[in-house]
């Protein structure tokens, strides 16, 4: 063994604590998100605008048993906000980080892929906490009164974060930035229309309903609807779909993610 290899083998590199690196990277990811005007628009302005507009202007169909739009829209828009920040925002930001060479540069540092992905998920979760506070406040101001098992709603949001961040990183980790931008926006629109966030899944044609119920957006919004309404019962099939997406998407992202 050469002297330099010997020093490393003896622990000479003395790596910094992984938690400290992860925390520093998470803080950088949060600052980076807050600097991007498109992220603020996508993560907050659009969900708040949709919630307020469709709650006050009664043009959307409502599922049976729901009389006020805000009661249907509030959980749906929370799901929409999670999808915006965890999938679209992460995909676009990461795609351009690849284009700017940021990912390549980070690949040669001690940060490493697991800590980078964990930092992105933690930063997204932090942004989501802020989104939930603001959106819930607006919904309550519009007359929404959640009364279901809110702990389950929090778990559902966490699963949704994992699923959508996984999808975002799956795109950004393997496609070019421009393709990622187009793919993320296209998928956002499809998942929004079929996700039961604004339009009830029960009002869709039968075939589309089956498709919608198998999507992460459909599963998340359905689970959230039943978790904020004490009168509704849990559909464990929807939970199973959501958990599957929350496991499969991040694993696929981690396996296919490339630094350049």
């Amino acid at each position: 063994m050469t002297p330099v290899a010997g020093k490393i083998a003896a622990g000479g590199q003395g790596g910094r604590s992984g938690v400290r690196i992860w925390r520093a990277q998470t803080a950088a990811e949060i600052r980076s998100t807050l600097r991007r005007g498109d992220a603020v628009l996508l993560n907050l302005a659009i969900p708040v605008g949709m919630l307020a507009f469709f709650s006050l202007v009664k043009v959307l169909p409502l599922p049976s048993g729901v009389s006020r739009p805000v009661d249907f829209l509030a959980p749906g828009v929370l799901a929409l906000a999670v999808m915006s920040s965890a999938m679209v925002s992460v995909a676009i930001a990461t795609g351009f980080e690849r284009q700017y060479g940021v990912l390549k540069r980070l690949g040669s540092t001690p940060l490493g892929r697991p800590k980078l992905l964990a930092a992105k998920i933690a930063a997204t979760a932090t942004v989501e906490v802020f989104q939930v506070i603001v959106l819930s406040g607006v919904a309550v101001a519009l007359g929404w009164r959640p009364n279901g098992p809110l702990g389950l709603a929090a778990i559902a949001l966490l699963c949704g974060t994992g699923a959508f961040t996984g999808l975002g990183l799956l795109m950004a980790g393997s496609l070019r930035a421009e393709v990622t931008l187009a793919a993320a926006n296209g998928l956002y629109l499809a998942l929004l229309l079929l996700g039961g966030m604004i339009f009830p899944i029960s009002k869709l044609p039968t075939v589309l309903r089956y498709v919608a119920e198998s999507l992460p957006s459909g599963a998340l919004s359905q689970v959230l609807h039943s978790s904020v309404n004490a009168a509704a019962s849990q559909n464990w099939g929807e939970w199973l779909v959501l958990v599957c997406w929350a496991v499969v998407a991040p694993v696929a992202a981690a396996r296919t993610f490339r630094w350049e």
Binding site: G6, A28, G101, R105, P110
Partner: protein
Amino acid sequence: MDSDEATIEVCDLTVRYGRKVAVDSLDLRVASGEIVALLGRNGAGKTSTVETLEGYRSPSAGRVRVLGLDPSDRRSHRALAQRMGVMLQKGGVYPGMGAAEALKLFASYYARPVDPQSLLDDLDLGGVARTAWRRMSGGEQQRLSLGLALIGRPEVAFLDEPTAGVDPHGRLVIREKVSTLRNSGAAVVVTTHELDEAEKLADRILIMDRGRIVASGSPRDLLASAPTAGRVRFDAREGLDTSSLAEQLSAAVYESTPGSYTVQLEGDGAAADTRHAVAAVTSWLAELDLPLASLRVGATLEDVFLDLTERPTGVDEL
């Protein structure tokens, strides 16, 4: 060089992309405290070589060791990352991030980082401490990029075009930092197209062509061994008829670019001929009542590079 002292050891490295051979059975050793410049045309195999050393690519064949470890092995790469500094040719920084924030973030990755504030001052980046990367000048971006490569006190550094697009003052700053890094005992590999910079920076120059090293040595050795050492160049008014000078010297005289002339001496006794050619050029211009703008005797690194990397007629590029 003793084998135990080599920081970088490459034996018989081959990198292929499908049927294309980018690096062809390359051997390379770089010692600690040495700056090696890797020169070559686009597609010569420089980037593939360096990216293999950095761990971004796996060799198709051959053996690569950096600090005694295999960079393509994930676990070894994690250990190497603590001791390696990489400067990319372009980008590599969050576009909205200022110099101070970027240095502080990268410092957080390493066990014994340089103080970000002192590096900011050393690189003359105090004025853009809070300026977003995308708003910095090319020179400021290069200096910050170098700073990010140095922040972890690397024992081995790979610098890709470190002075490209940098003004003369910035070049001085960069050269000084790279020399300091070498003096601290680090092995430094610089890839560049800027031959003057390579000559000023490097202890040793390697010229690559079609995936192979075709010349290696100190800048002085390479210049001395150049077949074009018997060459005199001068700048004067463009469009001069040089036939009388060529006849007087019995040598080829041609205008290589507008206003730049080359006297190519042939045969033995190049030193005596060169002195004679210098006298002939100056008196010829005096007779024409023309000022001599500049005069240079001998080969340049560019001559060496062009001579060694010229492609024979009829040979296809890889």
